[in-house]
Symmetry: C2
């Protein structure tokens, strides 16, 4: 799989089933959500703003997208929801690697920059370092309508892993995002 295909396959609405593992106590969390991944044009005002925030020339970007999620956890009565814009910047010499700019970080609510690469067997790995923690995600497609995502949060020295989660994401074929 090429990286462009990876980004293009990700576009759509996904029904996500997520299990969180809180490792020290072997606790389980269950989350059901809908995730919308929507392609943006490279001259979308929000995309240009993200580029500006990170001081990046918008000519070097590819496949920007907006991700929106809405769900419920068995740990919390409040619904979980959010939205962020993500902007990939492929490395010039090796397009299966690159940086991913993020409007708001996952683990901390600040703009974040991650490093990604796509392995020879189609696993997309994203590493994002924050001040206190780092997040590592691996995403791959079982088939075009089913993708898996493993995320973990580790201390920024990379040694301690506090939580890991696993999402099975099934493409919603019948519904539009509107």
């Amino acid at each position: 799989m090429e990286i462009n295909e990876f980004f293009e396959l990700s576009i759509g609405r996904w029904r996500s089933q997520r299990s969180g593992h809180h490792l020290a106590f072997a606790h389980f969390e269950e989350v059901l959500s809908n995730i919308d991944i929507e392609s943006l044009s490279t001259d979308d005002p929000t995309v240009l703003e993200v580029c500006k925030l990170h001081d990046i020339d918008s000519a070097s970007i590819t496949h920007p997208f907006r991700m929106t999620w809405e769900g419920e956890s068995d740990w919390d009565d409040k619904p979980i929801s959010g939205s962020t814009v993500l902007v990939p910047i492929p490395d010039i010499e090796n397009p299966s690697r690159g940086k991913l700019l993020r409007e708001n970080g996952y683990a901390e609510v600040v703009p974040a920059v991650g490093r990604y690469h796509l392995s020879d067997d189609g696993v997309f790995t994203l590493l994002t370092e924050y001040d206190l923690v780092a997040a590592e995600e691996r995403i791959w497609f079982a088939n075009p309508n089913l993708r898996f995502r493993v995320s973990m949060i580790k201390t920024s020295d990379g040694k301690g892993v506090t939580t890991a989660s696993f999402s099975s994401e099934i493409r919603s074929l019948s519904s539009s995002t509107s």
Copy 2:
């Protein structure tokens, strides 16, 4: 990571936290178990028997091991337990790929042969085809004392995925397997 290091790091006792996703109904299953992975010598009688069962010359094998598990699921009152012997046979031209002989299959209780490979970013993928279904597993180390395992069961035509599961496995440093 080299494949030998992968097999060697796997030896030990692991405390496993597993989430099963039953995809069609978005059901969650929670399993807690202990997994013992014990190195066997290449001339262990059980190993020789597995080789004979599969008509394989025992000179071509490497790192045979026994895996034993004991746990509990929130779906079932009965404890889950079992044991199997696994025997890797690396490909001669490319040792990061090979076959894995199994005394008893995971998805069906028959002897099974899987195909494995280790990707450039350290993810070990194992594909085992049975009569009616196929099992695909991806295993990788977050650090030497923490490994993750994603398994999925698909119909043997490779299209339908019925269940997926995610295990976080933490090495038990304090206890022996005896």
